[in-house]
Amino acid sequence: MTEEQKKIKRYVNALERRLKLPLKLKVRINEDIGTEIHLRMEAGESVDEILEEMGSPEAVAERFHEEYAEYVVKKSPIRFLFLGLAAFIIIAAVLFGIVFAQSHQTEPSISIIGGADGPTSIFIAGKTENETNRNVWNTYWMSVVGLFLGCIAAYLMASYGKRGDRKQYMKCILLSAAGLILSFIPFFIPDGHVVQWSFGVGMTGITVAPGVILNLVVLVMAWIRMRKKRGDDIR
């Protein structure tokens, strides 16, 4: 890549970062700006002259924002809270998982009545401790993944704001629906382990399953925004 091409790429990338517009529009703008720069170069202008005449990426982005005021995407900073929470969940889940796996490494225990090799020996084929551990392990990870999906869905909702399109809200609905299902399944499995937070309020202890709550809230919000968007499109 020549030095000129690097300057053009840096400029176009800087412009894209500053454009707070829907992705389709950003792609369209960058395509045209890139083409125009090359056409001006063919007309004999130097890259430096062209970029100076066009103005800084901030100034160019600002002009587009003025023309597209109704499309400007305002990303809520709260989205980083959900992203941080998602990262924390993964790290905490992996650490807890390692500790859990190490503390539950036992031989399968099978109860036997009578001599083990005799004709009267009866094996009690009930649930072994290993099966219980497996249920706990599997449901624990389901619950963790459910909560993780909820955090990702919440992050995306905060990024899209109220100006997302229907496809974006549908993405959030699918993620939070999957997260909700995964968060619910452990409740129906014997010995299921659900990620939960317990805290005291006065004399009462309250336990909540954050995966269920978060996914439910995001699902409902995304659904409402998608229906509203559909109504706006029809009008």
């Binding site: 529009l25 369209r28 703008i29 395509e31 045209d32 700006i33 083409t35 125009e36 090359h38 056409l39 001006r40 063919e42 007309a43 066009m54 103005g55 100034a59 160019v60 982005a61 600002e62 002009r63 587009f64 003025e66 023309e67 597209y68």
Partner: protein, 119 residues
């Protein structure tokens, strides 16, 4: 720096002006900027951030359509960059006619209201 009045007038007629220029011949963004600068008498020295949204709106409304074309190789062997040409559609031609009619009536009305020639 332009007065607010000039800016508002420009905003109002820009779509019509761009549509009229495209109706003369197929053209691309950079050529349009140059044409507006050359013929605009100082009123239409536009930047990309002002022109391209107009083009996108006209295209989304079906008044113009775009297509990529690459000019033949020049002497020297290097292929020129492909250009996105804009061409006016039938709906665009009708719209341009309507805009011209409205503009004529508007101009006459404003002249009458403001007293043509009087200060």
């Amino acid at each position: 720096m332009e007065s607010r009045f000039t800016q508002q007038l420009k905003k109002g007629v820009l779509e019509m002006v761009v549509l009229c220029i495209i109706s003369e011949k197929d053209t691309y963004g950079y050529e349009l900027l140059q044409e507006l600068g050359k013929r605009g008498e100082g009123f239409f020295d536009l930047k990309e951030g002002t022109l391209y949204p107009i083009l996108y709106r006209l295209e989304d409304d079906g008044l113009i359509q775009s297509s990529w074309k690459q000019d033949p190789e020049r002497n020297g062997g290097r292929r020129p960059a492909p250009k996105k040409y804009y061409r006016i559609t039938d709906a665009g031609s009708r719209a341009a006619e309507d805009y011209r009619d409205i503009w004529k009536k508007f101009e006459q009305c404003v002249d009458r209201l403001c007293g043509e020639g009087e200060v």
